[in-house]
Subunit: 290 residues, 4 copies
């Protein structure tokens, strides 16, 4: 089985390296070619263009957003170069609408489309500890499973329609964002009342709020340190907007997402686009006059 | 050290029993006296009135709301009967404003007031596994520590002003309520899109949302079973309203709490006052046309 | 018919003067007695206490809030001094709950309670151009009509239960507040896009938004001038909170009121408690990074 | 001066007829040609295609949404057929983003782009009583003024950048939608409390809420009659979404618009897409358990 991996950013590079290390026959491509060096050292081949990387059994893409993926699939001709029967696995957090469009486009050409977005940050990608949410034709999912096993600690299959994986992934990012917003408001309240935020965090994480995410985001808020960003505010806004778009298409209101979106826009208006998205705590603090 | 325990409801009864079992010299009182039998069997004495229970070193109260506590303290004359130097420990989830009022009233009479609300449901109370959030004069907190050790698995001290314990406790209930609302919206979205809610819950709890609270509330939502209620919607509304009142007094907006409050009012308008508060999932489902 | 008028603030003083000018047999009282001079010159008598003003057929009250009215009715003994068969007309913007309490208290003593809050600012009060929203026993309303005719340009009767007048009045203040918030957001948007706010206001008031309220509040926003306050932010917050309380009691969510309340709290947190409530425009502007 | 009018829907048809009646040299086009008959009788010529209508000095378009306008401009080749120096006047409520794109596209080809969306329903269009919000190069606006005079009662110029007219128009629709939502909530409150909705409306329109829009929407709500729709819920949702998109691009949060959008989605989820947008009153009523 020949694989291609396109998109070697903060997430894609360690993922591709893991595939090379697992002895897959791997060709890689990135818009700025220097990012490939590391993966080539681990055993992969570098391709000078998308089209030259695309003559494979499975092509995996991991890019920043819808536009970057469309650039690869349409402008870069992944869609038309991929052989009949091959599989395109999109691992990026993209819109449900684009997933639907790509599923239809691949079906029309005799290739298969799998959506397999991930939960996890670059360190989890490097450790092969991602969580993978996969959807697509079941034969294609079977084929991809050994690949997923090399990339993540667990794969969840959520259906035969690729778009469902994106919907579920976006719903997860919505949940994260909404928890961050609620924590932000709680911190504003206790800080203004005179409670030490670090002691407050100990209490939260020592009682009911035991998932690591509470410690992760709570620490950033208690320290008021949003640089370097684990996940940038503007990407958070992008994902919450994608969740709202998907919900709109399904005729489902998401009032908490709407509220979070408004606060994220406010964060951008105050120059926090490159802060970690836990900087929502600063918006809540400001609204409280802190 | 002589103790009194006033209020033997679903929470108070097992708590008092644990104190009796721990060999504290204990007198108990409840509005409907029959609730005392069980605790008396475990070694406590029953008092026929608040005043007759109040000649102790430490009087603990555990009642439903502000009105019930005021009935004990003022109408029932706990305040005037409690000896100088004694301590009143309020373990109920009451308003920050009442905590301030009681702290002042006790200080004026030479007794001490400690707020020590708890996290945990009746089963945790029975197992002595509550989390206790305590605030008040530090000497009084020291005196109470052995009592807290018999009731809970861990005590968090959050300051010398009793009201801070109530504020922190209310902020915790606000966080719970807001997570329930966000989960409710996420379930509405994925259900309408055709994802199986139980599989979705497996995915959430298997990835980032690992705290038991996600499984607890997610299961109720996936099963759509809100009876019997672990925590009733109308009590949830009471607590979110108390959090908003405390935040208003501190001049802190809590937009997510406002939103949750509106949805809880809608739940009451639809007859769900005695459902578990996770029935917010039904409000989200209804708004999505499910 | 003997009248008393209690409460000679910015609204009450011109109202009482109009009653004196209309040749009603009038006795007045105010907490700070100097405010009575002007009305005495117009023909009224000043009473040194509430009780000495209360031996009348109709006692009108016009005070700042619930607490001030309770101080007159209970502490000042209006309730017990008022003769059997007499009428208490409360013209303040008070809570629905207090209206219910006063209606019951008066009924128990054989006097009648009428709620008759008003729309209009001090200049309208001086000109006898108030709008009066009245509710109460219909015989009492009949008796009061000549009084209302001396105070306002039109009286609307909304039922036999006094509380309905307060509910309707609060709903009106909620509508005003929500329009102010929406205007605030619209101004933030067009200002940030580079449209001149005064030209924008001309357009709004020249097309669909023709009621004087749009010009009144729009001008304050376009000028960014919130002093002197026509209606203070903190009183706006009080009224929106009363509307939310009344809606809560009726099990009706008011999501726009919740949102406005949050923004008003933010305004207070930023020191704008004594600005005109149209200073919500500055909160919207700030959230937009202006 | 030769004119073309493209798009003869409920708004476009009476507008084109007014231009014919005003003796402009007019050629018209509509996707379904039968709609042109009426205007032809009034003196216009019908063109069989966009391109054949486009050899004019000023081409006016009035269509349902962005997609319909792009179909005319790009697929239908209005852009490339319009002579150098000619003007395209877009009178539809379209996105700010499309206005920017069209302004750039026309500038690149030597034609001019004017945005001139309108306030007013079909009856105002028929009566030549529209309000026109115009923006674009000032020479082009001068040229168009006689056309606008034949279509509307007043033209407001809001700048040299066409997009500003769309932004202002969308802000106006946002204001309308937000007033409808607030009215909806107020009606839910007073109805549940037992106030007659028609009497309530008399009170509102007889006091502060005197603009015709309050009577228009208030009557629909008091009568609970949403058919036939003056403006459909789904078009309201489209416009509120466009306002939010424009605000997002300008980094301005519009919290009331977010809230209205959520309620409109709920209305669609309950099958009200073709009701008048004042059916938001039914969503508020339902949330109140009415």
């Amino acid at each position: 089985m020949k694989l291609a991996f396109l998109g070697l950013g903060n997430m894609g590079q360690p993922m591709a390296r893991n595939l090379a290390a697992a002895k897959f026959d791997l060709i890689v491509w990135n818009r700025s070619p220097a990012r490939a060096d590391d993966v080539v050292k681990a055993g992969a081949t570098a391709a000078p263009s998308v089209a030259e990387a695309a003559r494979v059994d499975v092509a995996l893409t991991m890019v920043a957003d819808d536009a970057a993926l469309e650039a690869i699939v349409f402008d870069g001709r992944l869609l038309e170069t991929l052989p009949g029967g091959a599989i395109h696995v999109s691992m990026s957090t993209i819109s449900v609408a684009l997933a639907e469009k790509l599923a239809a486009a691949h079906a029309a050409r005799g290739s298969a489309f799998v959506s397999a977005p991930v939960f996890g940050r670059p360190d989890a990608a490097a450790a092969g500890k991602l969580f993978i949410v996969a959807a697509g034709p079941s034969a294609a999912l079977e084929t991809c499973q050994p690949i997923f096993d090399a990339l993540g600690q667990r794969t969840f299959r959520v259906g035969a329609e690729a778009r469902l994986a994106n919907l579920v992934k976006l719903s997860g990012n919505f949940l994260l964002a909404s928890i961050i917003e609620s924590l932000a408001e709680a911190f504003a309240l206790v800080r203004k009342a005179g409670v030490d935020p670090h002691e407050y965090l100990e209490l939260l994480t020592g009682t009911l709020f035991t998932a690591p995410l509470f410690r992760t985001y709570g620490t950033l808020m208690a320290d008021r340190r949003y640089q370097p960003a684990g996940f940038r505010m503007r990407l958070g806004l992008k994902d919450v907007t994608l969740a709202l778009d998907a919900a709109r298409a399904a005729t489902v209101p998401l009032p908490v997402a709407s509220l979070v979106r408004d606060h994220m826009i406010s964060a951008l208006a105050q120059g926090r686009q490159d802060d970690d998205w836990s900087a929502l705590a600063e918006i809540a603090a400001r609204n409280a006059g802190l």
